[in-house]
Symmetry: C2
DNA sequence: CTGTAAATGTTATAACATAACAATGGCGAG
DNA sequence: CTCGCCATTGTTATGTTATAACATTTACAG
Protein backbone atom coordinates (compact mmCIF):
# COMPACT_ATOMS: atom_id res chain seq x y z
CA UNK A 1 0.00 0.00 0.00
CA UNK A 2 1.56 3.21 -1.08
CA UNK A 3 1.63 6.48 0.72
CA UNK A 4 -0.79 8.96 -0.75
CA UNK A 5 1.14 11.90 0.55
CA UNK A 6 3.54 11.50 -2.32
CA UNK A 7 2.21 13.81 -4.93
CA UNK A 8 2.99 11.64 -7.90
CA UNK A 9 0.74 9.00 -6.45
CA UNK A 10 -2.25 11.26 -6.61
CA UNK A 11 -2.99 9.41 -9.77
CA UNK A 12 -2.84 6.04 -8.23
CA UNK A 13 -6.48 6.01 -7.38
CA UNK A 14 -6.91 2.27 -7.11
CA UNK A 15 -3.82 1.31 -5.27
CA UNK A 16 -3.66 3.43 -2.16
CA UNK A 17 -5.45 3.43 1.14
CA UNK A 18 -8.29 5.61 0.07
CA UNK A 19 -10.18 5.04 3.28
CA UNK A 20 -7.43 7.06 4.82
CA UNK A 21 -7.96 9.87 2.28
CA UNK A 22 -11.61 10.00 3.18
CA UNK A 23 -11.00 9.82 6.90
CA UNK A 24 -8.43 12.58 6.82
CA UNK A 25 -10.52 14.78 4.56
CA UNK A 26 -13.55 14.51 6.82
CA UNK A 27 -11.56 15.15 9.95
CA UNK A 28 -9.95 18.21 8.44
CA UNK A 29 -13.33 19.44 7.26
CA UNK A 30 -14.83 19.04 10.72
CA UNK A 31 -11.96 20.88 12.33
CA UNK A 32 -11.96 23.63 9.75
CA UNK A 33 -15.66 24.30 10.00
CA UNK A 34 -15.50 24.28 13.76
CA UNK A 35 -12.66 26.78 13.77
CA UNK A 36 -14.58 29.00 11.36
CA UNK A 37 -17.86 28.71 13.21
CA UNK A 38 -19.68 27.44 10.17
CA UNK A 39 -21.87 24.39 10.29
CA UNK A 40 -20.92 21.23 8.48
CA UNK A 41 -24.45 19.90 8.73
CA UNK A 42 -25.28 16.25 8.05
CA UNK A 43 -26.41 17.03 4.52
CA UNK A 44 -23.26 18.98 3.73
CA UNK A 45 -21.08 16.40 5.37
CA UNK A 46 -22.70 13.61 3.41
CA UNK A 47 -22.20 15.42 0.11
CA UNK A 48 -18.56 15.90 0.96
CA UNK A 49 -18.21 12.20 1.75
CA UNK A 50 -19.83 11.26 -1.54
CA UNK A 51 -17.45 13.50 -3.44
CA UNK A 52 -14.53 11.96 -1.61
CA UNK A 53 -15.55 8.43 -2.51
CA UNK A 54 -12.95 8.57 -5.22
CA UNK A 55 -10.47 10.91 -6.81
CA UNK A 56 -12.71 11.20 -9.82
CA UNK A 57 -14.60 14.44 -10.21
CA UNK A 58 -18.28 13.78 -9.63
CA UNK A 59 -21.25 15.56 -11.15
CA UNK A 60 -23.91 17.30 -9.10
CA UNK A 61 -26.57 14.95 -10.41
CA UNK A 62 -24.50 11.91 -9.50
CA UNK A 63 -24.43 13.17 -5.95
CA UNK A 64 -28.13 13.86 -6.23
CA UNK A 65 -29.01 10.34 -7.27
CA UNK A 66 -26.92 8.89 -4.46
CA UNK A 67 -28.71 11.10 -1.96
CA UNK A 68 -32.06 10.13 -3.41
CA UNK A 69 -31.24 6.45 -2.99
CA UNK A 70 -30.18 6.95 0.59
CA UNK A 71 -32.72 9.43 1.82
CA UNK A 72 -35.66 9.39 -0.53
CA UNK A 73 -36.56 12.05 -3.01
CA UNK A 74 -34.09 14.89 -3.07
CA UNK A 75 -34.19 17.98 -5.24
CA UNK A 76 -31.31 19.68 -7.07
CA UNK A 77 -31.14 22.73 -4.78
CA UNK A 78 -30.23 20.47 -1.89
CA UNK A 79 -27.12 19.35 -3.68
CA UNK A 80 -26.21 22.69 -5.17
CA UNK A 81 -26.50 24.41 -1.82
CA UNK A 82 -24.18 21.89 -0.25
CA UNK A 83 -21.74 22.24 -3.14
CA UNK A 84 -21.85 26.00 -2.81
CA UNK A 85 -21.07 25.80 0.87
CA UNK A 86 -18.24 23.34 0.35
CA UNK A 87 -16.76 25.53 -2.38
CA UNK A 88 -16.95 28.61 -0.16
CA UNK A 89 -15.09 26.76 2.55
CA UNK A 90 -12.53 25.51 0.06
CA UNK A 91 -13.37 21.89 0.80
CA UNK A 92 -14.02 21.03 -2.82
CA UNK A 93 -13.06 22.39 -6.19
CA UNK A 94 -15.14 22.61 -9.32
CA UNK A 95 -13.64 21.21 -12.50
CA UNK A 96 -15.01 23.59 -15.11
CA UNK A 97 -14.20 21.46 -18.10
CA UNK A 98 -16.19 18.56 -16.66
CA UNK A 99 -18.95 20.34 -14.77
CA UNK A 100 -17.91 18.24 -11.84
CA UNK A 101 -16.58 18.52 -8.32
CA UNK A 102 -13.66 16.98 -6.52
CA UNK A 103 -12.41 17.06 -2.95
CA UNK A 104 -9.61 19.42 -2.02
CA UNK A 105 -6.70 17.85 -0.22
CA UNK A 106 -5.46 21.12 1.25
CA UNK A 107 -8.54 23.06 2.25
CA UNK A 108 -6.90 24.89 5.11
CA UNK A 109 -4.50 26.84 2.92
CA UNK A 110 -5.39 29.49 0.43
CA UNK A 111 -4.34 28.07 -2.89
CA UNK A 112 -4.82 28.04 -6.62
CA UNK A 113 -4.73 24.51 -7.82
CA UNK A 114 -3.77 22.88 -11.06
CA UNK A 115 -5.70 19.80 -12.06
CA UNK A 116 -4.21 17.01 -14.09
CA UNK A 117 -7.12 15.10 -15.48
CA UNK A 118 -6.64 11.73 -17.12
CA UNK A 119 -8.88 11.32 -20.14
CA UNK A 120 -8.43 7.57 -19.90
CA UNK A 121 -9.24 6.66 -16.29
CA UNK A 122 -10.92 9.93 -15.37
CA UNK A 123 -8.95 10.61 -12.22
CA UNK A 124 -8.03 14.17 -11.34
CA UNK A 125 -4.96 15.10 -9.35
CA UNK A 126 -4.63 18.48 -7.73
CA UNK A 127 -1.09 19.71 -7.71
CA UNK A 128 0.58 23.00 -6.99
CA UNK A 129 3.57 24.62 -8.51
CA UNK A 130 5.21 27.84 -7.56
CA UNK A 131 6.76 28.38 -10.98
CA UNK A 132 3.36 28.21 -12.67
CA UNK A 133 1.77 30.53 -10.14
CA UNK A 134 4.61 32.97 -10.56
CA UNK A 135 4.53 32.88 -14.34
CA UNK A 136 0.80 33.61 -14.40
CA UNK A 137 1.04 36.42 -11.87
CA UNK A 138 3.93 37.95 -13.76
CA UNK A 139 2.15 37.78 -17.09
CA UNK A 140 -0.99 39.32 -15.66
CA UNK A 141 0.99 42.12 -14.03
CA UNK A 142 2.71 42.89 -17.33
CA UNK A 143 -0.67 43.45 -18.90
CA UNK A 144 -2.08 45.46 -16.03
CA UNK A 145 -4.56 42.76 -15.19
CA UNK A 146 -5.33 42.06 -11.55
CA UNK A 147 -5.98 38.33 -11.17
CA UNK A 148 -8.41 37.16 -8.57
CA UNK A 149 -9.27 33.58 -9.32
CA UNK A 150 -8.19 31.05 -11.85
CA UNK A 151 -8.97 27.79 -13.53
CA UNK A 152 -6.15 25.59 -14.73
CA UNK A 153 -7.06 22.16 -15.99
CA UNK A 154 -4.77 19.97 -18.02
CA UNK A 155 -6.21 16.96 -19.76
CA UNK A 156 -3.98 14.14 -20.83
CA UNK A 157 -2.80 10.69 -19.79
CA UNK A 158 -1.77 9.83 -16.27
CA UNK A 159 1.21 7.56 -15.49
CA UNK A 160 -1.04 4.65 -14.54
CA UNK A 161 -2.77 4.71 -17.89
CA UNK A 162 0.51 4.73 -19.75
CA UNK A 163 2.52 1.96 -18.10
CA UNK A 164 4.85 1.50 -21.05
CA UNK A 165 7.26 3.98 -22.68
CA UNK B 1 -7.68 54.88 -32.36
CA UNK B 2 -5.22 52.45 -30.90
CA UNK B 3 -3.53 49.57 -32.57
CA UNK B 4 -5.04 46.29 -31.57
CA UNK B 5 -1.89 44.40 -32.31
CA UNK B 6 -0.51 45.63 -29.04
CA UNK B 7 -1.34 42.85 -26.68
CA UNK B 8 -2.08 44.99 -23.68
CA UNK B 9 -4.84 46.63 -25.64
CA UNK B 10 -6.70 43.40 -26.03
CA UNK B 11 -8.70 44.66 -23.14
CA UNK B 12 -9.57 47.91 -24.70
CA UNK B 13 -12.68 46.56 -26.30
CA UNK B 14 -14.44 49.86 -26.81
CA UNK B 15 -11.63 52.00 -27.99
CA UNK B 16 -10.03 50.27 -30.91
CA UNK B 17 -10.96 49.74 -34.52
CA UNK B 18 -12.90 46.60 -33.96
CA UNK B 19 -14.18 46.58 -37.52
CA UNK B 20 -10.62 45.81 -38.40
CA UNK B 21 -10.54 42.90 -35.92
CA UNK B 22 -13.60 41.43 -37.56
CA UNK B 23 -12.38 42.01 -41.07
CA UNK B 24 -9.02 40.43 -40.40
CA UNK B 25 -10.53 37.50 -38.55
CA UNK B 26 -12.92 36.71 -41.37
CA UNK B 27 -10.24 37.03 -44.02
CA UNK B 28 -7.93 34.72 -42.11
CA UNK B 29 -10.76 32.26 -41.61
CA UNK B 30 -11.57 32.22 -45.30
CA UNK B 31 -7.96 31.67 -46.26
CA UNK B 32 -7.41 29.01 -43.63
CA UNK B 33 -10.47 27.01 -44.61
CA UNK B 34 -9.56 27.24 -48.25
CA UNK B 35 -6.05 26.00 -47.57
CA UNK B 36 -7.42 23.11 -45.54
CA UNK B 37 -10.12 22.23 -48.04
CA UNK B 38 -12.88 22.57 -45.48
CA UNK B 39 -15.99 24.55 -46.14
CA UNK B 40 -16.68 27.77 -44.28
CA UNK B 41 -20.33 27.66 -45.27
CA UNK B 42 -22.59 30.71 -44.90
CA UNK B 43 -24.02 29.39 -41.65
CA UNK B 44 -20.60 28.74 -40.16
CA UNK B 45 -19.29 32.03 -41.42
CA UNK B 46 -22.19 33.92 -39.91
CA UNK B 47 -21.72 32.29 -36.53
CA UNK B 48 -18.07 33.25 -36.61
CA UNK B 49 -19.02 36.84 -37.42
CA UNK B 50 -21.49 36.94 -34.56
CA UNK B 51 -18.87 35.67 -32.14
CA UNK B 52 -16.45 38.30 -33.39
CA UNK B 53 -18.91 41.12 -32.84
CA UNK B 54 -17.05 41.84 -29.64
CA UNK B 55 -14.24 40.55 -27.49
CA UNK B 56 -16.77 39.30 -24.98
CA UNK B 57 -17.31 35.56 -24.89
CA UNK B 58 -20.76 34.81 -26.23
CA UNK B 59 -23.07 31.95 -25.29
CA UNK B 60 -24.40 29.45 -27.80
CA UNK B 61 -27.95 30.56 -27.12
CA UNK B 62 -27.04 34.20 -27.68
CA UNK B 63 -25.81 33.21 -31.11
CA UNK B 64 -28.94 31.17 -31.56
CA UNK B 65 -31.28 34.03 -30.83
CA UNK B 66 -29.38 36.31 -33.21
CA UNK B 67 -29.68 33.71 -35.95
CA UNK B 68 -33.35 33.27 -35.25
CA UNK B 69 -33.91 37.01 -35.59
CA UNK B 70 -32.05 37.11 -38.86
CA UNK B 71 -33.16 33.91 -40.52
CA UNK B 72 -36.31 32.73 -38.83
CA UNK B 73 -36.59 29.81 -36.48
CA UNK B 74 -33.30 28.13 -35.84
CA UNK B 75 -32.66 25.12 -33.65
CA UNK B 76 -29.77 24.54 -31.22
CA UNK B 77 -27.99 21.91 -33.34
CA UNK B 78 -27.45 24.48 -36.06
CA UNK B 79 -25.44 26.60 -33.69
CA UNK B 80 -23.63 23.79 -31.92
CA UNK B 81 -22.56 22.25 -35.22
CA UNK B 82 -21.12 25.53 -36.36
CA UNK B 83 -19.37 25.99 -33.05
CA UNK B 84 -17.97 22.49 -33.25
CA UNK B 85 -16.61 23.15 -36.71
CA UNK B 86 -15.08 26.47 -35.70
CA UNK B 87 -13.46 24.88 -32.66
CA UNK B 88 -12.01 22.07 -34.77
CA UNK B 89 -10.50 24.61 -37.10
CA UNK B 90 -9.15 26.61 -34.18
CA UNK B 91 -11.15 29.67 -35.19
CA UNK B 92 -12.79 30.05 -31.81
CA UNK B 93 -12.09 29.00 -28.25
CA UNK B 94 -14.50 27.84 -25.62
CA UNK B 95 -14.32 29.55 -22.24
CA UNK B 96 -15.16 26.72 -19.89
CA UNK B 97 -15.85 28.84 -16.87
CA UNK B 98 -18.46 30.84 -18.78
CA UNK B 99 -19.92 28.24 -21.13
CA UNK B 100 -19.17 30.73 -23.85
CA UNK B 101 -17.16 31.14 -27.00
CA UNK B 102 -14.73 33.75 -28.24
CA UNK B 103 -12.87 34.33 -31.46
CA UNK B 104 -9.26 33.26 -31.73
CA UNK B 105 -6.87 35.87 -32.96
CA UNK B 106 -4.21 33.39 -34.04
CA UNK B 107 -6.07 30.49 -35.59
CA UNK B 108 -3.29 29.55 -37.98
CA UNK B 109 -0.84 28.54 -35.28
CA UNK B 110 -1.15 25.64 -32.94
CA UNK B 111 -1.40 27.20 -29.51
CA UNK B 112 -2.57 26.87 -25.96
CA UNK B 113 -4.09 30.12 -24.88
CA UNK B 114 -4.49 31.85 -21.58
CA UNK B 115 -7.60 33.90 -21.10
CA UNK B 116 -7.74 36.95 -18.90
CA UNK B 117 -11.38 37.56 -18.18
CA UNK B 118 -12.55 40.77 -16.60
CA UNK B 119 -15.33 40.16 -14.12
CA UNK B 120 -16.30 43.80 -14.38
CA UNK B 121 -16.68 44.50 -18.11
CA UNK B 122 -16.76 40.88 -19.23
CA UNK B 123 -14.10 41.14 -21.90
CA UNK B 124 -11.72 38.26 -22.45
CA UNK B 125 -8.19 38.66 -23.75
CA UNK B 126 -6.28 35.74 -25.15
CA UNK B 127 -2.61 35.94 -24.43
CA UNK B 128 0.31 33.57 -24.69
CA UNK B 129 3.33 33.14 -22.53
CA UNK B 130 6.23 30.84 -23.02
CA UNK B 131 7.15 30.80 -19.33
CA UNK B 132 3.68 29.59 -18.36
CA UNK B 133 3.62 26.94 -21.06
CA UNK B 134 7.05 25.76 -20.01
CA UNK B 135 6.18 25.65 -16.31
CA UNK B 136 3.10 23.55 -16.96
CA UNK B 137 4.88 21.14 -19.27
CA UNK B 138 7.70 20.76 -16.79
CA UNK B 139 5.38 20.11 -13.89
CA UNK B 140 3.42 17.53 -15.83
CA UNK B 141 6.58 15.77 -16.91
CA UNK B 142 7.79 15.61 -13.32
CA UNK B 143 4.65 13.72 -12.42
CA UNK B 144 4.72 11.43 -15.42
CA UNK B 145 1.62 13.02 -16.85
CA UNK B 146 1.36 13.49 -20.60
CA UNK B 147 -0.55 16.71 -21.26
CA UNK B 148 -2.69 16.94 -24.34
CA UNK B 149 -5.01 19.87 -23.93
CA UNK B 150 -5.51 22.54 -21.34
CA UNK B 151 -7.80 25.20 -20.00
CA UNK B 152 -6.32 28.27 -18.36
CA UNK B 153 -8.71 31.02 -17.44
CA UNK B 154 -7.89 33.84 -15.07
CA UNK B 155 -10.68 35.99 -13.75
CA UNK B 156 -9.96 39.40 -12.36
CA UNK B 157 -10.01 43.07 -13.26
CA UNK B 158 -8.72 44.41 -16.53
CA UNK B 159 -6.75 47.66 -16.78
CA UNK B 160 -9.70 49.56 -18.25
CA UNK B 161 -11.91 48.69 -15.31
CA UNK B 162 -9.29 49.83 -12.85
CA UNK B 163 -8.15 53.21 -14.16
CA UNK B 164 -6.83 54.37 -10.80
CA UNK B 165 -4.04 52.93 -8.67
C1' DC C 1 -39.33 29.73 25.96
C1' DT C 2 -39.22 32.52 22.04
C1' DG C 3 -37.62 35.50 18.27
C1' DT C 4 -34.62 35.38 14.55
C1' DA C 5 -31.53 33.92 11.15
C1' DA C 6 -29.72 29.90 8.91
C1' DA C 7 -30.78 25.84 6.73
C1' DT C 8 -33.69 22.84 4.21
C1' DG C 9 -37.84 21.45 1.45
C1' DT C 10 -40.58 22.04 -2.68
C1' DT C 11 -42.01 23.38 -7.17
C1' DA C 12 -41.01 25.20 -11.23
C1' DT C 13 -38.11 26.75 -14.79
C1' DA C 14 -33.83 28.51 -16.90
C1' DA C 15 -29.61 27.57 -19.35
C1' DC C 16 -26.66 24.59 -21.84
C1' DA C 17 -26.05 20.60 -24.93
C1' DT C 18 -26.83 16.32 -27.77
C1' DA C 19 -29.31 12.16 -29.98
C1' DA C 20 -31.59 10.51 -33.84
C1' DC C 21 -33.30 10.61 -38.15
C1' DA C 22 -34.93 13.10 -42.42
C1' DA C 23 -33.99 16.20 -46.20
C1' DT C 24 -30.88 18.76 -49.04
C1' DG C 25 -26.95 19.94 -51.73
C1' DG C 26 -22.06 19.91 -53.62
C1' DC C 27 -19.22 17.34 -56.32
C1' DG C 28 -16.56 13.67 -58.48
C1' DA C 29 -16.82 8.98 -61.16
C1' DG C 30 -18.58 7.12 -64.99
C1' DC D 1 -24.76 15.14 -67.95
C1' DT D 2 -26.50 12.42 -64.15
C1' DC D 3 -26.05 9.34 -60.77
C1' DG D 4 -24.66 8.30 -56.34
C1' DC D 5 -22.27 9.42 -52.28
C1' DC D 6 -21.18 11.93 -48.35
C1' DA D 7 -21.08 16.33 -46.02
C1' DT D 8 -24.22 19.59 -44.45
C1' DT D 9 -28.41 21.27 -42.73
C1' DG D 10 -33.25 20.77 -40.88
C1' DT D 11 -36.32 19.07 -37.37
C1' DT D 12 -38.04 17.04 -33.26
C1' DA D 13 -37.26 15.49 -29.06
C1' DT D 14 -34.78 14.93 -25.01
C1' DG D 15 -30.77 14.94 -21.87
C1' DT D 16 -27.89 17.48 -18.60
C1' DT D 17 -26.62 21.16 -15.55
C1' DA D 18 -28.12 24.93 -12.62
C1' DT D 19 -31.07 28.49 -10.35
C1' DA D 20 -35.35 31.28 -8.89
C1' DA D 21 -38.82 31.80 -5.68
C1' DC D 22 -41.23 30.91 -1.80
C1' DA D 23 -42.65 27.73 2.17
C1' DT D 24 -41.17 25.25 6.21
C1' DT D 25 -38.18 23.66 9.69
C1' DT D 26 -34.30 23.96 12.79
C1' DA D 27 -30.55 25.82 15.71
C1' DC D 28 -29.55 28.59 19.26
C1' DA D 29 -28.78 33.11 21.55
C1' DG D 30 -31.00 35.97 24.69
ZN1 LIG E 1 -7.46 8.49 -2.03
ZN1 LIG F 1 -7.34 22.42 -3.45
ZN1 LIG G 1 -11.50 44.16 -31.63
ZN1 LIG H 1 -6.36 31.29 -29.76
Amino acid sequence: MKNFDTVSLSFDTNNHDHGRCIHTAMKVADKLCLSRSVRLTPARRRVLELIWESHHPVGAYDVLSRLSQESGKTAPPTVYRALEFLMEQGLIHRIESLNAYVGCAHPAEEHAGLFLICTDCGCAAEVHDEAIDQAIVTKAATLGFRPEQRTLEVRGTCPDCRPNT
